[in-house]
Amino acid sequence: MTRYIFIESRDPFESRDTRFVEETAIAVKERGHNVTVFLVQNGVLAARQSANRLARLAEAGVALLADDFSLRERGIKPEELAQGVHESGIETLVDAIAQANTKAIWH
């Protein structure tokens, strides 16, 4: 089993192609792989419960992490995060992608 880490840096309200990450991550998960989506920069705007953007990923069993630094820069508090989204740090991302049999895709 390969581990896939999608790094989403784009604002879903500005870049409709964030759907690419959603659809690809779900498709890879359905093929039995371990999949994480790490939200960073404007990508964390999707992490807010009020944005209602990540339900399909959460329901598919994709792990959802949001960069703490990016959240703080944008004034998003942990209690505002959508269900299934966990605050994380850049060190967690680095540790995860520095593992064998892991594919890291930046978007």
């Binding site: 840096s9 850049i90 680095v94 520095a98």
Partner: protein, 135 residues
């Protein structure tokens, strides 16, 4: 446990994209975890370590250079190269053709000149590779 290493390909020029900040944070975090890092700076990213960068005052706010304490990417790259001078090691390679196109050869100490062949070699020998493209 085998030594871990990451190769990052960067393309964004300084002061234009949050990608640069995230990339520098990732390099710092990797070195802090003992992970060797290779950077292949391509296109505008070859200007990240440009020595000619200068901090500036802010006439809108009326602050001096010292008060503004403006961060430059060349200072970040220098600091990271100092942290990664031995073990873990940071290797920073600027694409030579991209440097020539931009007249960006005056870079901080420790930055090497290379080609996409270096990127291929670094990626082949690393635990993993992450490409951070421009849009």
């Amino acid at each position: 446990m085998n030594e871990r290493s990451l190769t990052l390909a960067l393309m964004d020029p300084p002061y234009e994209s949050a990608n640069s900040t995230t990339a520098l944070r990732m390099i710092s975090a990797a070195l802090a975890q003992g992970i060797n890092v290779n950077v292949f700076a391509y296109e505008g990213a070859v200007c990240l370590p440009l020595k000619d960068q200068a901090p500036h005052a802010n006439p809108v706010k009326g602050t001096t250079v010292e008060e503004e304490d403006h961060p430059t990417t060349k200072a970040f790259v220098s600091s990271l190269l100092a942290i990664g001078k031995d073990s873990p090691r940071l290797t920073w390679v600027n694409c030579g053709l991209c440097v020539d196109e931009r007249g960006a050869s005056n870079v901080v100490d420790g930055v090497k000149r290379g080609s996409p062949a270096d990127f291929f070699k670094m990626a082949s020998e690393s635990t993993n590779t992450l490409v951070i493209p421009t849009r």
